[in-house]
């Protein structure tokens, strides 16, 4: 069994998530960088992901948007890749889109998201580090409607697993 995600706060504006996967590093990398794979897991039950555009190269941008199937509300993230080191390190500057930004890249301080992958004995360890612009921004990230939506939708996630909608 994969160990559950471990979360630490290395400083007052960072969040670090560590998780292992029983899969080769290349595959975990692909799942984070190929839009057709990203949209299969990155999301929330009850939300469609109509937009998942990713141009994975330094300076390339991405747009993710989710839309609630019931009320049509949308939110997303957009950003720019700043480091792309094949299979080992991916860094992007990320902005939260509460749903009304129309994919215009905002100015201001983004959240810096870095992803690091290492592999040992067929097990890939992922370390995802989020560095927010401020302490307040870190708190806002869990108190936005986005996470409320996530938590709401999680109640249905187990059903989905039971029905085998994702599992093979």
């Amino acid at each position: 069994m994969a160990k559950p995600a471990e979360v630490t706060f290395p400083s007052d504006r960072e969040v670090r998530v560590t998780r292992t996967f029983h899969a080769p590093r290349q595959m975990v990398w692909d799942a984070h960088t190929r839009p057709e794979l990203v949209r299969k897991w990155q999301g929330y039950e009850g939300w469609d992901m109509p937009v998942c555009d990713m141009d994975v190269r330094v300076g390339g941008t991405y747009k993710w948007q989710w839309r609630n199937r019931e009320d049509g509300n949308a939110f997303g993230f957009l950003g720019t890749f700043t480091e792309v080191d094949d299979c080992s390190r991916l860094v992007h500057e990320q902005y939260f889109d509460p749903g009304d930004m129309d994919f215009a890249m905002p100015t201001g301080d983004p959240c810096i998201v870095s992803l690091e992958l290492t592999e040992e004995n067929g097990i890939t360890t992922l370390i995802c580090n989020l560095t927010f612009a401020s302490k307040q921004a870190r708190e806002d990230a869990v108190s936005t409607g986005m996470t409320d939506g996530m938590e709401h939708s999680y109640t249905r996630l187990d059903d989905m697993f039971n029905k085998g909608a994702v599992a093979n």
Binding site: A2, V7, F9, D12, A23, L37, F161
Partner: protein
């Protein structure tokens, strides 16, 4: 003090390795400043400074009635911090469980090997 303000103090307090070690020590039982200064090889004023930060963050308290003024852990303060981290953890974990499923699917597809004869 607002909840978010106290949480900030809590996480700032927890960010320091010495203060985390002090908490770990207090988890085994209450201790005085003098008792804490010994294993940490620090002066009492230095320890007192750390204790003040922990106190303000609601992570420890002092028994004012006892002559020795021992400090003890305040589990509630730690629990609030842990609950808040848990919200983050859950958000990621749900997504990663889906990724587990996807990775299982990907590995099953291209190279479904026959079981080897042993």
């Amino acid at each position: 003090m607002q909840d978010s303000e106290r949480l900030n103090l809590t996480f700032a307090a927890l960010a320091d390795p010495t203060r985390r070690a002090i908490l770990a020590r207090l988890a085994t039982g209450e201790a005085t400043v003098t008792e804490l200064a010994v294993p940490f090889e620090m002066s009492q004023p230095a320890i007192s400074k750390h204790l003040k930060v922990l106190e303000r963050a609601g992570l420890i308290s002092m028994d004012v009635d006892a002559q020795r003024r021992p400090r003890k852990l305040e589990p509630k303060g730690l629990k609030e911090a842990a609950d808040w981290i848990e919200r983050y953890r859950e958000i990621f974990e749900r997504n990663y469980q889906r990724l587990d499923a996807l990775l299982g699917e990907l590995q099953a597809k291209p190279s479904r090997r026959k079981p080897t004869n042993k």
